[in-house]
């Protein structure tokens, strides 16, 4: 996809290094996307619970998509003012600093091989929560790094000698972009570092205490840097262009959606959904198991965020399509759901691998309740969509309890915003205005914004706010009594799912 751009125009390039693909997008000063190029990479599942990526393959993808995007826009490296990166978070790679070769495949965020390590941390869980803000979980990068150090031949010795480096994907890409073995800059940005269980959330430095506890040699760690800063200069690819921005994908979306004031929140609806709320200079402590995290560091002081994730949103629709065969394309769930006026008393609780925030019940399993002879496919389709809305409500309620500042409107992005029935349902259930911005690429835009701010392409975040345009808004229209009754029914349905895997 591309739109004609005058040859004199300067653009900012963003690399979106995602779970299934790597993309390069070019943005103009008004925040308009002018070209995109994409390349998928292989998913390796060597054993149950294991999910890996070949970091070299991903770097190769970057070297292809960047020139391809420029070609589509008819531009050259001289037109690129800066390059920013948004990446899949918590995916962990170790590599040899002299050869640039990874010691093993990168372990991705979906991989659960560290459950043994993590359950061994139960006694010291308080320490991790206190310092890093994160309770030990297989989700985070630190335990993965320990696993690699303990299982990959030569990794620990090399790391202690200073020959082996650790990074999340943005680290790996910045190092390669700025020269690799030949002077590559070894850094990680604060948002990615805040997902390792190794960083002190207050000082934004590696915690010697946590590094010692996870037995990570400090020499292998990248320097922690702000989200908008010239980290280095591209060598081979885009020679001379400053690498000037990096954020984890969900934090990038927070910036792309310009949620710059405390209480502003965004939810990205994809396979799963991620709700992040700006909590300003304050680190919110969560009783409900939401994750306090660095939102972004664009100026002198960090802005924190509270994060709640929903495991199954788009993936529930995919299941409805592929496993049940109820629809032939994901978009048609809306057609099917619109064939009935309501859910007919039917509720779907998608606790396929337990319930996450704010309930945290690993023994819960999915249930469909309220089945009668009256129920047909259309009611199930509605119940599937409503499940996403009610899960959003539960996360948002917990967030409002934990952080004091109430959310007054919700900015949404991601593929599922194409479903207008779902978005209306979210507005109804939250009793909030739900808004979609023009251009659904909030993640990439956030990375571009960070890089552009660092080099002065954009003077300050206020200018970016003026680039945010409302493309659609859904206002709550549900009658309050009905909302309350449906909320009660949803909670009763969730009760039925709890503890199911324990018995039998």
């Amino acid at each position: 996809m591309s739109t004609a751009v005058p040859a004199s125009e300067r653009v900012v390039a963003a690399i979106d290094q995602g779970t299934t693909s790597t993309r390069c997008l070019l943005f103009t000063r008004s925040g308009r996307m002018v070209a995109v190029a994409q390349r998928e990479h292989r998913q390796h599942f060597p054993a149950p619970g294991r999910a890996e990526h070949d970091a070299t393959e991903i770097w190769r993808a970057v070297t292809r998509v960047v020139p391809a995007a420029l070609r589509r826009a008819g531009l050259g490296p001289e037109n690129v003012a800066a390059l920013g990166i948004a990446n899949q978070r918590e995916t962990t790679v170790v590599w040899n600093r002299h050869t640039g070769v990874p010691l093993a495949r990168a372990i991705t965020w979906q991989d659960t091989r560290t459950d043994g390590i993590v359950s061994g941390l139960a006694d010291t869980a308080g320490l991790y929560a206190e310092v890093s803000g994160l309770g030990p979980a297989t989700y985070f990068a630190g335990p993965r790094l320990q696993w690699l150090l303990d299982h990959v031949p030569g990794a620990r010795d090399g790391a202690e000698r200073g020959d082996v480096l650790f990074g999340t994907m943005e680290s790996w890409l910045i190092w390669n972009l700025t020269g690799g073995p030949d002077g590559g800059v070894h850094v990680t940005d604060v948002t990615n570092a805040s997902r390792t269980m190794l960083m002190d959330l207050r000082t934004l430095e590696w915690s010697p205490q946590l590094c010692a506890a996870l037995r990570v040699p400090p020499r292998m760690l990248p320097r922690i840097v702000p989200n908008a800063q010239v980290y280095g200069t591209c060598t081979g690819l885009l020679p001379g262009v400053p690498v000037a921005g990096a954020l984890g994908d969900q934090q990038a979306a927070l910036v792309g959606q310009t949620c710059f004031a405390p209480g502003e929140a965004k939810c990205t609806y994809g396979t799963g959904a991620f709700l992040l709320k700006n909590t300003g200079p304050r680190i919110a402590s969560s009783a409900a198991g939401l994750i306090p995290t660095v939102g972004y560091l664009l100026g002198d002081r960090p802005v924190y965020a509270l994060e709640g994730s929903i495991a199954m949103t788009g993936s529930l629709v995919q299941w409805f399509r592929d496993a049940l065969g109820m629809i032939s394309t994901a978009a048609r769930i809306e057609t099917l759901a619109m064939s009935v006026p309501d859910n007919g008393g039917c509720y779907v609780v998608p606790a396929f691998s337990g319930l996450y925030a704010p309930r945290w019940n690993p023994d819960a399993r999915g249930v469909i309740v309220g089945l009668t002879s009256y129920i047909h496919r259309g009611h199930l389709a509605r119940a599937v969509l409503e499940a996403t809305a009610w899960q959003t409500r539960e996360v948002l309620d917990a967030m409002n309890r934990d952080s004091g500042v109430g959310v007054t409107r919700l900015k949404v992005d991601g593929g599922m915003t194409a479903n207008h029935l779902l978005m209306q349902c979210v507005a109804d259930v939250l009793d909030l205005t739900v808004e979609r911005p023009l251009g659904s690429e909030a993640v990439s835009l956030g990375a571009a914004y960070a890089a552009g701010l660092a080099v002065g392409y954009w003077p300050d975040p206020d200018v970016l706010r003026r680039n945010w345009h409302r493309a659609a808004a859904w206002e709550p229209v549900m009658e309050p009594g009905l909302r309350e009754r449906e909320h009660v029914n949803w909670r009763r349905a969730v009760e039925r799912s709890i503890g199911w895997a324990r018995s039998g």
Binding site: M1, T3, S30, R32, M33, S328, T329, A330, A331, R332, I333, E334, T335, A418, N419, H420, L438, G439, S440, H469, R470, A471, A472, A473, W474
Partner: protein
Amino acid sequence: MVRHIQSVARAAALLRLLGGAGRPLALAELAAALDLPRPTAHGLLRTLREEGLVAQDAASGRYLLGDDLGRLGTPWDRHDLRARAMNWADALAAGTGCAVYLGVPAADGRGVDVVHHVFRPDGSPQQLRTNTVQPLHATAWGTCLLAFAPASVRAADPLERYTRRTVTDPVELARTLESTRRRGWAADPGGWEPGEGGLAVPVRSGGGLTVAALGVGAPAEELFTPDGRARPDPVQELYTAAGEIAAGLEGLV
């Protein structure tokens, strides 16, 4: 006298033969049954296969009826359309500064059903119009369907007046549709809401069938010159976006 087109008649005969055979047929059998030279039969079959009306058995190379025959007369799914159009509709709104509408024939053919609506990116308060049905003769997207998808829609009778500029005379409407077909895009100078103009182009599927109308809406003076002519830039951007959306529809069931 309208000309009889031989290749269309032959294609119809091929389809009837395949439909009645009860088993896949080989090229030689088909050519012989219809008394056609083999290269002619082969060319017809290949074109029909590209259109999805004929399928070819991978193992034997024999021909049978294609899946798309069963879908003749089935409208495209409106939400598939929206999902495929969304990025391009956003780009169109960003590029033109106008609101964007994607309309399809309403179920009863008596209106244009708004499948997708993108706000005008100017910060003004606006209401989402998705799933509203608007009059065919008074909107650019409706006029576009009347002109390019005449089998799927029927204009109201009598033509209701909404503003001073609504076309209510059937003869004048016929003239408007004629010029719309000739130039390839539809225009509304404010026949539905006073002062609010629209421009629209057809979104065509692979075979040229119009499946939707893609339009931009803005104050009439932004879309038309003072002497009533459409400004060229939005029309050009509409064509580009409609072409990209159409390309995205390929492979969609």
